[in-house]
Symmetry: C2
Subunit: 379 residues, 2 copies
């Protein structure tokens, strides 16, 4: 997919999904969607077994690698496990409702199921951001431990329940990359005036550092970067970044992705549709999300390094790491951003407190396990 | 569970499972089991849906925390998802066949399903050890990426297929602890003559270092450690170690678990039983193993640090880390052990080559992701 035609096709496709859009300022798109009328789950009577038909709306371009594929797989696995009794038709972002219309569409029952990332709903439920990615927050293993075994899921259910939704973890990107820059980042001064495409909480941190966090539609990022309209962009990791061709438009590739150290993807189900499911199909949908979570992280881990090697060996990219002093300053600003969020919204305070408590404990555990593990490779 | 009665009860229980036994020299136990006759899957005809009844034999004491619970959950989830069409009765180690008789019992069809860890079958299929734990090998995230997305599962299926078995990953302990010692480990000299309960490949490494790797039944470890019959023991991690009361019998608690940096648990299904399943039940069993894998690691991560804090704060345990020079020397010996294994068995060579290739790649990826992530906590 590295030739230019393929890249252009990929980028055009990307323009359709929220992965490309950022998390704010797009509410206006919602009202323009002609298909956004309420519909109820179509339930057909079969001679021997009911076939339930659901729609799944997603924030991703159709069949978008890893993320849209995760939604496709989820539907396929539910179909297989249910012996065809629960059929879920997957819609790419914009096909039935706009990418950022997913939350409302599932909440209102236009679609029974949705797939995306919880930080896209920051404008509706600020605390949702803790269930996707937090600057200097959890990696994949830790967010899963918090969600499944540390009380996180219960809080997420409490938050989404107010919107008539039931949430599920449905994937993870692993530690992301820090982004592509046309300017070296040596000190915090280098962020002053830096125009960077970086959405959400990470964007707020950049703004505190004196940068300009800008919103750029996915299909425009490459051109904007190439022409100097923006100085930098974050995206996902080498597997997706290679497809976008950013190496042709930016000099420096930084790690780690301090702003998204282990982004969780989500699936959500309309609570009325959920409650109407028989118990076996409930168990099937839930297990499919667990499988998807494990599948996606494994795919990311297996494929990202291959793409990174291609970037290094075929496109002369030299990955760099942010200086420690810069990361330290960014962390301080991140904590300010998170405290401001928690101060502005009681549910965010409640979720952040749970997050902080779990983080403290898992950090202590990491010190004797995952941290020394990472050193074994140098022995 | 820290009072002495509870500890004794727990240890007595532990004596029933392979978790307590080590991985070699116990073939003799097999022949003594009266229940080890071949049986076929009992298939009852119901008026509307077939109910299939399976037995799952396990290497764990009945309902053993996390590991045996993982087997219980697997059966429960399959029951729920199948609407009761596939009923799996779980047997603790020794209840139907001995803990280390699981592989043969499922291979021969005495039971349709098994649950354990692949390194228990080193005597029958040496390459199986790569699918559980390898000294200085993968952590949980990397072994999952290798198995699910890096070709590992295909090799595992090839290996187990020869024994009429289909393998599944069904859990992970995360990075284990290095063990309990009554002697400080400052240099490799300290391993000379050290009597330590450490099974499998780790035991071979210890032997190369001049130590005595001894086999001690689980119920005997505490007493042997307390009386100085052994100088050290490894077990799992703080959650399980606390229950065993080792802090009363040993002075030093070392990390990291270089010998088991991310032990995968397994489930296996007799291939005839598997092939007889309808497709929906196949998909259900597979998804249940994914869910179990994610569930177990999350539970370990969430609960281990709490137990570690109890050990430190209530029992004055001071965790230590092995000196870098010691880990370096142990790694060199581990590679010798693995090369010897690969040289002795063509399938081990094939699996080890795949393992090494994936390890090289994932190490490069870890350098820009999980490794810098581990440093964020100190900023």
């Amino acid at each position: 997919m590295e030739n230019d035609n393929n890249r252009r096709k990929f980028i055009k496709n990307v323009g359709m999904g929220a992965a490309a859009i950022g998390t704010a300022g797009l509410a206006g798109v919602l009202s323009s969607c002609k298909d956004q009328q309420k519909e109820k789950a179509a339930v057909k009577e079969e001679p021997k077994a009911k076939t339930i038909e659901w729609k799944m709306v997603t924030t991703w371009p159709p069949h978008f690698p890893m993320l849209g594929e995760g939604a496709d797989n989820l539907a396929k696995w539910v179909d297989e496990m249910s012996g065809g009794r629960l059929k879920i038709k997957v819609y790419g972002g914009g096909e039935l409702v706009p990418p950022l219309g997913v939350f409302d569409a599932v909440s209102q029952g236009t679609a029974e199921m949705g797939h995306g990332a919880a930080y896209y709903w920051a404008g509706k439920a600020p605390a949702s951001q803790f269930f996707a990615a937090v600057p200097f927050g959890f990696n994949a293993q830790s967010i899963n431990a918090w969600l499944y075994s540390g009380g996180g899921m219960q809080l997420w259910e409490e938050l989404y329940g107010k919107f008539n939704l039931k949430p599920f973890v449905a994937g993870n990107t692993g530690v992301q990359m820090g982004g592509w820059f046309n300017k070296e980042i040596n000190t915090m001064e280098d962020f002053k005036g830096l125009k960077m495409r970086i959405p959400g909480l990470g964007g707020k941190v950049l703004a505190k550092a004196g940068g300009n966090a800008v919103l750029v539609a996915g299909g425009e990022i490459f051109t904007n970067l190439e022409r100097g309209v923006i100085d930098a962009t974050e995206w996902v990791g080498p597997f997706h970044d290679l497809k976008m061709g950013f190496y042709k438009a930016a000099k420096y590739y930084y790690s780690p992705g301090w702003h998204e150290p282990g982004t969780a993807l989500e699936s959500m189900v309309n609570l009325d549709a959920w409650n109407a499911l028989p118990d076996d199909l409930k168990a099937i949908v839930e297990a499919a999300t667990y499988k998807s979570n494990m599948w996606m992280l494994s795919e990311f881990e297996a494929k990202n390094n291959k793409a990174l090697k291609t970037l290094i060996n075929e496109h002369n990219v030299q990955p760099r790491q942010f200086p420690e002093s810069v990361l330290k300053a960014l962390k301080k600003l991140s904590i300010e951003v998170l405290e401001e969020l928690a101060a502005s919204d009681p549910m965010s305070r409640k979720v952040y407190d749970s997050f902080l408590e779990f983080q403290k404990n898992i950090y202590e555990w990491n010190k004797v396990t995952e941290e020394p593990y990472q050193k074994l490779k140098y022995l």
